[in-house]
Amino acid sequence: MEKAMVGTINQRAVSGTKAKRNRKALWCWLFVAPNLIFYLLFQGWPIVINWYYSMLDWSGISSNATFVKLDNYTRLIADPYFWKAYRNSFIFMLQAVPPLLVLSLVLAATLNNPLLRFAKLYRTLFFIPVIATTSIVGMIMIFIWGADGPLNYALSKLNLPGGGINWLSDGRTAMYAVIVTYIWKNLGMNMIYWLAGLQSIPRELYEAARSDGAGHFRTFYHITLPLIMPIALVILLLNTAGALKVFDLIKTMTDGGPFFATDVVSTYIYRYAFSSEMGVPSMGYASAAGIFFAFTIVILAVLQGLIRKAVLRTWGGDNS
């Protein structure tokens, strides 16, 4: 009898907990719903429909659309300028992300020092480029990197090499100029990411390390680095994705030039989707380029996820 009562009570308790959990889950869904619905409408659906568009011979402005199966993909793969843009996207990412991460970490670690005076002011100063509109930054940078712009003027006054270079007009230097600008523009945001990670590390750990005689480097290597590794991988993922889809800065600074030297997949897609010379734009073809590139990024994201797991295992961090 007692057992039966206990069983009933347990059942009630279990069903009560279950109902509570369901209610909680429903509330969670309610809060997620607006975002989810907007995501499905404005991100999910365009992605799905883009698959279909990529198999059409369609200008994007016409009611005439012919289903051409995988012809757009065949044409895309055969275009050396697509591969040039594809390669440039990765060159941009590989040359922009590592220095951006390192510099922003150094900056964040410096500004996280409680002994540093005016730290908030410095943070604000480094964050200002982030809130500046990219296209406006691009326009200003054309002037700064210009053949007779302030950069060349400073270089020549300081008798440093490079004073006479046409940074944005020369295919050998244009990409570097855009990358440097990109790093400068995004430094502040990454600094904030790192600061968030750094400030989550308990101060006691540093104090304990210092009392054990550890120097700055050993403290950084043995305490800071392992503890910020989970957030580091998230920052890496965000930056990789951001750098691969760079558009506005390149569009305004070089428009992919000179002669496609800074042409990335985004500008390539834009060129085919929204411009033409004698004919009409090729929205179907541009969609194929978008899908092809997105597929690459998905593969990269999966790889990065696997690497993240391996790294976290090695460093013994949180594997959540």
Partner: protein, 506 residues
């Protein structure tokens, strides 16, 4: 739980009803547009600018930067005359416009009035429903004020309906302006100007040497590949290439020979100028208006520009001593002519415009009002298409010189759209090949393209294929067109192509 369900239902209602209400509103406005079309007979009686009407905002977008000040003054006067109409004017560069207008149309946000982008045929735009016919809003009285031949079937009109009005009397935009002071310093004068490629290159080099970093031989808006394309097309045509803006093939023989000597000669000249460092160092990173400003400041000896620049320099750089000359020709001499396009379609009323009467009123004031055409011609910007204006107001010597040179070196070329008004339908099926002629020339000047002959050969081959595919697909889609519509065996590049020549082909 009940609270949750209520909130969820409310959220879904908001999310789904809002878009529906937006649709309802759109349908309502399109209904208003239909009503306007239906009431064409009463349009003439309406005065959309009167204060009795509800306020109207008229959105206008184009690339007429050279007349910006005059245009703004025109808008001020227009809004004062019609206080109920507010003009929202957006001005872009040609390249910006090409992209922006397409996205505006795609998103259903086309301005009330916009010109046909230079890269799209009016036939395509009409077929796609971008513009609405102007005839219901612009009466014969208005149209009769334009010079004879302004409106042509296949160019500005289709099936008896007018869709776009040309902007100005058409002149090529590839003549060369020169700074008299810098040329004099380099040993040239008005009677002794560089005429051939070799002389031109030498003059640019000499000016650059004299400038010692302060000024250069030539400046261009290198960021706008359309400018480079236009230079190749016109300069190589002067050398006998037979290129034109109406099709990607040679109108005389129907072939795509972009690697022919007249074309490669232009590339060779520009490569030479780049090798000599005769280009202004900013050339590749600036737009055409920026290049024009640098020329105005005396930073270059030469610039290739259209007649519209004259008005800008005369206003902004009154001390600039400049002249205009024909483009240089190969050392072996001139073998062809620059294309005189005749009438070119420009401004039309968007098919989605909710205020076509107000838009038509804008056009009437722009062309036949008291201010704009007179001010434009007086400034030296261009020749007007309105009868009687040029005779009275075209007094700027550089504009007159430009006009005379354009007609000395330019000839009317055959236009497939006149021969067969259905022929522009092919361009709905034509896929541009990249890098195109302009991009290749930009690459040559930037030093990124060295084997331009090989690249041009490849380009010729790809354009040939794209053209054949376009014709085939157009035919399959029912467009009444033939390859021969684009071939004019009786065309002589040194002579105007006349109505008799069209007749002789039949």
């Amino acid at each position: 739980m009940k609270v949750f369900m209520r909130l969820l239902v409310l959220l879904l209602v908001v999310l789904f009803v809002l878009p529906l209400s937006a649709c309802t509103s759109t349908n309502g406005s399109s209904g208003a547009g239909d009503e306007a079309k239906a009431g064409e007979a009463n349009i003439a009686k309406k005065n959309p600018g009167s204060t009795a009407d509800s306020p109207i905002t008229l959105r206008v977008m184009d690339w007429s930067d050279s007349v910006k000040t005059i245009r703004e003054e025109f808008h001020k006067q227009f809004m004062a005359k019609y206080p109920n109409i507010k003009i929202e004017y957006t001005q872009l560069t040609v390249d910006q416009f090409k992209n922006t207008i397409l996205t505006a149309i795609q998103s259903g946000r086309a301005p009330d009035l916009f010109p046909i982008p230079s890269n799209v045929k009016l036939a395509t735009a009409v077929a796609e429903g971008w513009f609405q016919p102007l005839n219901p809003y612009l009466g014969e009285d208005f149209l009769n004020q334009f010079a004879d031949g302004t409106f042509q079937n296949g160019i500005t009109s289709f099936d008896g309906q007018l869709y776009a009005i040309p902007e100005t009397a058409s002149l090529p935009s590839s003549l060369v302006f020169y700074n008299k002071t810098l040329l004099k310093e380099a040993g040239y004068d008005d009677k002794n100007l560089p005429r051939t490629y070799t002389e031109f290159r030498a003059a640019a080099k000499k000016i650059t040497e004299n400038g010692k970093g302060k000024y250069y031989g030539i400046v261009e808006g290198g960021k706008q590949t359309g400018r480079w394309l236009m230079i190749v097309r016109d300069w190589s045509s002067l050398a006998g290439a037979g290129l034109n803006s109406t099709s990607p093939i040679n109108l005389a023989d129907g072939r795509t020979t972009y690697n022919s000597e007249p074309v490669t000669g232009v590339y060779s000249l520009f490569k030479g100028l780049a090798d000599d460092k005769s280009f202004h160092p900013q050339t590749m990173s600036i737009s055409a208006p920026e290049a024009r400003a640098l020329f105005g400041q005396g930073q270059a000896g030469f610039i290739v520009q259209g007649a519209w620049s004259i008005g800008v320099w005369n206003k902004d750089n009154p001390n600039l001593d400049y002249g205009v000359m024909a483009p240089p020709v190969p050392d072996t001499g001139r073998k062809g002519s620059i294309e005189l396009a005749g009438s070119l379609p420009w401004m039309g009323i968007s098919a989605d415009s909710k205020n076509p009467e107000a838009a038509a009123l804008y056009l009437k004031e722009l062309y036949t009002g008291d201010y704009f055409q007179k001010a434009r011609v007086s400034s030296g910007d261009a020749f007007s298409l309105i009868k009687g204006i040029n005779e009275q107001y075209a007094t700027v010597p550089q504009l007159k010189a430009y006009y005379e040179l354009a007609h000395e070196y330019g000839r009317t070329v055959p236009n497939p759209a006149i021969r067969n008004p259905k022929s522009p339908g092919v361009f709905e099926y034509y896929k541009d090949v990249h890098p195109d002629l302009g991009e290749l020339l930009a690459g040559t000047v930037a030093g990124a393209v060295t084997d331009y002959t090989g690249q041009l050969g490849n380009y010729s081959e790809q354009v040939g294929k794209a053209w054949t595919t376009a014709i085939d697909n157009a035919k399959k889609a029912g467009v009444q067109v033939d390859e021969d519509d684009f071939v004019f065996p009786n065309w002589k590049p040194m002579a105007d192509y006349t109505p008799e020549d069209y007749a002789a082909l039949k």
